[in-house]
């Protein structure tokens, strides 16, 4: 029989996966939202009358028709991934103040603030009829000028909320840089970078099915945090949480985009309850491109100072971050960039300041990497520029500054405490795997041959954070041994494609010493596991994995106690081995023990420490300077996520994440019309994703430095690729073109961008 790589594979790869859209509920209505084609404007009127006459339409409502729809809750005040902005920030703003007066309505009441914002909702017997109805809703919006970049919006010449600044929050990390240090430095690299807005682009867009029954509501949704979703829905409905159940079936990816409660969800849940009928919203690709959360979106300025030997003296990062139209989680998210601004180096002075700015775009939200790619790209592009200025090999410059292994735990100037690491080992492995010296020789050969396409080598060292922030570093769950010999592992996490069904049962089986096939995972259902935090911030293996190991230890303790009671021996004489209790010649496996002594189940909460995965990525790229096309010839990703639970799964995470990093570097990005509306008429022909044909040879390697923060030692593995890869690729292109101004290479590196950069002034020739 065919052996599948993962437990999920047999189901998912043979078309037997069951996603929300596959769930058939009799009498279910399909919701379609009527959306603004304007980025910013005043809504004058909405008329749903004609829509209600369309055959098969069950109802159509504008905000005025549904005045009592509750507002969408702001996550900023109750962050699970990020804490409230630290009180040490010397400004008078808190997230509540950022949110105050800037309510995000479920349907537009009077002002449209982002393109695609919903002005009405239509329910139909199926999606076809609902769309027929939506086409009959008429509305009028008087356009206002739109602002789509944080730098432009920060000027406040166009305000999204009358009487309030677009700057919703200001924050900083680290002490101000001593100007004397900058003045005394041998070299100061100054540059500006724009981290473009990106779409998370899961294969399955958002889904939400609400089924009311008597006084209860069951919600089926592709979601990363079902327990939070349940709490929020219950609060909205003013119900006790136990009347709401959230179930997460197979989910086709999330990458951060499925962890919130969105306006559409509120409308659907509310209408389902109000009508007493099942209602679902299955977001389609065009909707998703218009109104799903965005990631990144930072305008950055840097100053990086070093002495003549290349020792870093000071680093300053200034950020204008794009929050989108409503202050949501993205208000505090750029603090992640600020806290991680130090990177993997011993730079004594680091300072990051930021402004979180409202713009006329859909809200920004964590997207795989969430603040850390932004920090890495700014620092690592500047490191390569610094190496060129100093005439130093970029690898050598990094080596001179990497935090040495003996320095951990390492407290950074920007307030982080890195748990463990061997950064130089990761860099060395990346260089060896790449054949750095061989490619340097090839680069030199090509520079001497006018017929050859120029080639460049780019490096990026990174350190990131996984697990979450204090207050969100715990997980709930447990382990249950059953009479039939099976073991159920419960966890408050929720898989959207991260192989939990494979990894967690294997971990529990290994820990208990039982047959893996007898262990089953229960997660993603608040009816089965009442408490949970969820899956984000690369936390599932690190935090929930440790929780399961902890629960196994509790279960073993109980089993030994019971055996001691049965056999009337001191518990100290009962040993646990291979899934059974032993005392002298007596042996009894778990199933037998449960049969004799009754159900055995432990549930608990376990908190882990924050962890700091790290690594080094290296890229070789060839540039056709006549057309500006970039061909990545080789990509090496060395990631250290501590203890590896399943090498195949970790490799898959690293590979997929690296491909998303390639997307950020070369392909993905929105172009906006002058009216602030993204140009997406061609959908995924306009916003380009890397496809299989664009994926270069990628070599994934790892080093393994366990985290001291949990007994398991695992760190997060999900986000590293897209953190290290973009800077490595951009650095490779900059190296190939030898351009003097690194800021010319704005991402995505479209052919036109690269072609223009190729014609810009070159760096002076240096003997290598």
């Amino acid at each position: 029989m065919r052996r599948w790589a993962r437990r999920e594979d047999e189901r998912l790869l043979t078309g037997r996966g069951r996603y929300v859209a596959d769930i058939r509920v009799p009498g279910c209505l399909d919701a379609v939202f009527v959306r603004s084609g304007v980025a910013h404007g005043v809504l004058r009127e909405v008329d749903c009358t004609a829509a209600r006459e369309v055959p098969g339409v069950a109802g159509a409502w504008s905000a005025a028709d549904l005045m009592d729809l509750p507002a969408c809750p702001h996550a900023a005040g109750d962050l699970q991934d990020l804490p409230p902005v630290p009180r040490t920030v010397a400004v008078g703003l808190s997230p509540e103040e950022a949110v105050a007066g800037r309510e995000w309505p479920v349907l537009v009441k009077d002002r449209v603030r982002y393109p695609g914002e919903a002005v009405a909702v239509v329910l139909g017997e199926d999606r076809y009829r609902a769309e027929d109805g939506a086409a009959e809703v008429t509305f009028r919006i008087d356009p206002l000028p739109a602002v789509v970049t944080p730098s432009a919006a920060a000027e406040d010449s166009v305000r999204l909320f009358d009487g309030l600044s677009n700057i919703a929050f200001e924050g900083s990390a680290g002490r101000p840089i001593d100007e004397a240090v900058l003045q005394g430095a041998a070299v100061v690299v100054e540059a500006r970078y724009r981290q473009q807005l990106l779409m998370p682009t899961p294969m399955e867009c958002r889904t939400f099915l609400a089924v009311p029954e008597a006084d209860r509501l069951t919600v089926w949704a592709g979601h990363q945090m079902p327990h939070r979703l349940r709490r929020e829905l219950a609060a909205l409905l003013e119900w006790p949480p136990d009347r709401v159940r959230v179930v997460v079936p197979d989910t086709g990816g999330a990458f951060g985009s499925k962890s919130a409660l969105f306006p559409e969800y509120v409308a659907v849940a509310f209408l389902a309850v109000r009508l007493g009928r099942p209602v679902r919203w299955i977001e389609d690709r065009l909707e998703s491109m218009l109104v799903a959360t965005r990631g990144r979106g930072q305008d950055q300025r840097v100053r990086l100072a070093a002495d003549a030997e290349g020792r870093l003296l000071a680093y300053e990062l200034t950020i204008d971050a794009d929050v989108g139209a409503y202050p949501h989680l993205a208000v505090g998210l750029p603090m992640q960039t600020a806290w991680m601004a130090t990177g993997p180096y011993t730079t004594p002075q680091v300072r990051a300041t930021l402004r979180s700015v409202l713009t006329n775009t859909m809200v920004t939200y964590p997207y795989r990497g969430a603040g850390r790619p932004e920090a890495t790209v700014a620092l690592e592009r500047s490191m390569d520029a610094l190496a060129h200025r100093l005439g130093l090999d970029p690898a050598e410059l990094r080596r001179r500054n990497l935090i040495p292994p003996a320095s951990f735990p390492y407290r950074t100037p920007t307030g982080r405490c890195y748990d463990s690491g061997n950064y130089a080992a990761a860099l060395d492995l990346a260089l060896t795997t790449l054949d750095y010296d061989g490619w340097r020789a090839e680069r030199a050969r090509r520079r001497a041959d006018p017929a050859a396409l120029p080639l460049g080598i780019g490096l990026a060292c990174y350190v990131e954070r996984s697990g979450g922030e204090p207050g969100g570093l715990h997980e709930f769950g447990g382990v249950e041994a059953r009479e039939d010999g099976t073991v159920v592992a419960r966890s408050g996490t929720s898989s959207s494609g991260q192989s939990h069904e494979t990894v967690f049962p294997a971990l529990v089986a290994r820990t208990l010493g039982v047959d893996e096939a007898r262990v089953r995972l229960a997660e993603g259902d608040t009816g089965e596991q009442p408490q949970g935090v969820g899956s984000f911030a690369s936390r599932s293996a690190q935090v929930a994995g440790a929780m399961l190991v902890h629960a196994c230890a509790l279960l073993v303790g109980r089993a030994r106690e019971r055996a001691a009671g049965l056999w009337e021996v001191p518990v100290g004489e009962v040993a646990w081995c291979d899934g059974a209790v032993h005392a002298g010649p007596a042996v009894m496996d778990l199933a037998e023990l449960v049969k004799l002594t009754g159900p055995l189940r432990v549930d608990d909460r376990f908190a882990a420490g924050m962890a700091f995965p790290f690594g080094a990525h290296a890229a070789v790229a060839e540039v056709d300077p006549e057309l500006g096309t970039v061909r990545v010839l080789r990509l090496v990703a060395v990631d250290d996520c501590g203890t590896v639970l399943d090498p195949v799964v970790v490799r898959g995470q690293a590979f997929g994440s690296a491909v998303q990093g390639i997307g950020q570097a070369l392909y993905e990005g929105f172009a906006f019309g002058e009216d602030g509306v993204p140009l997406l008429a061609g959908a995924l022909l306009d916003y380009l994703l890397p496809t299989d044909a664009e994926v270069p040879p990628i070599e994934i390697r790892d080093t393994r430095t366990p985290s001291p923060g949990t007994p398991l030692g695992a760190k997060g593995a999900g986000e590293s690729g897209c953190i290290g890869t973009p800077a490595a690729i951009v650095n490779a292109v900059a190296d190939a073109l030898r351009i003097a101004d690194p800021g010319l290479l704005g991402t995505p590196l479209t052919p036109e961008t690269v072609w223009r950069a190729a014609r810009a002034p070159k760096l002076p020739e240096r003997p290598v």
């Binding site: 076809y128 065009l286 017929a451 057309l627 380009l688 052919p751």
Partner: protein, 309 residues
Amino acid sequence: MKPAAFDYVAPRTVREAVEALGAGRDAHVLAGGQSLILEMRLRRARPEVVVDINRVPGLGRLSVDGGTLRVGALVRHDAFEAAGAVPGPLGTLFSLAVVTIAHPPIRSRGTMVGSLAWGHPASEWCAVAVAMDAVLELRGSGGAREVAAGGFFHGPFQTARRPDELVTAVRFPLPGADTGAGFAEHRRTHFCFAQVAVAATLTVRGGLVAEARIGLVNAADRPVRARAAERALLGAEVVLPPAGHRLPGGHPFARAGEIAATADAAPVAEPYAGVDYKRHAVAVLVGRALRQAAEDQRSRAAVHRGGHR
């Protein structure tokens, strides 16, 4: 992304198809559905009736008659993936161009004639048809007529086809063995439309260019025949440029590229490709397509000589 309601007819003859098109309703022809289905799902196309010609016998024929190739309305793109599917340099040109069209599954459904009838400015086949002096065969309620590809394209998605007409086939004259073909396309990913592409053939006699044909893809609001560049090449000595990605400055192919970019192309700006960049890309790709055509002609001539030794 669900289409609005529409009626559907599946005629069994060309006459029935033409009757359905001429019934006074907004009708769209469905061949491969490569573009139409997407446009309908986006509700940018809302035909009252879809006329599915897939059951009309005979439209799937690909035939050679003397010096002419005839491609029926249901011949799928993938029929041209093998260079030998069509004789001589035209087969080479088709095989080079066709692999730049979408993905294999789409190429197994979409049709050459459908692409011509749709008239997308970034369509490879439209520029190939214009360059190669193709002739479209149309049947309408008024009978049959023919339109040269050079006069068929009026703008983006606008053609000389009347609403009641079905494009039944397209004919191409077959160039001889003294002709070589080249095709150069530039796009951001394998999946997306061409930012610019160029189809070129060179007919060489006595070491000199006897005829040049250059078609520009996505270099204007419609396919472009680069006639100024073609004229500049006539009589030029064919000297293969040295290896390398860049043509020497004064090389006739580089000059032709510059002329095509400035005199023939009229690029329309699009996201991530401004007018200046597209002009520049036209110049580069014309040079590259001509180089490839010259190389193809040379190897074809060598085989030809070898065969007569």
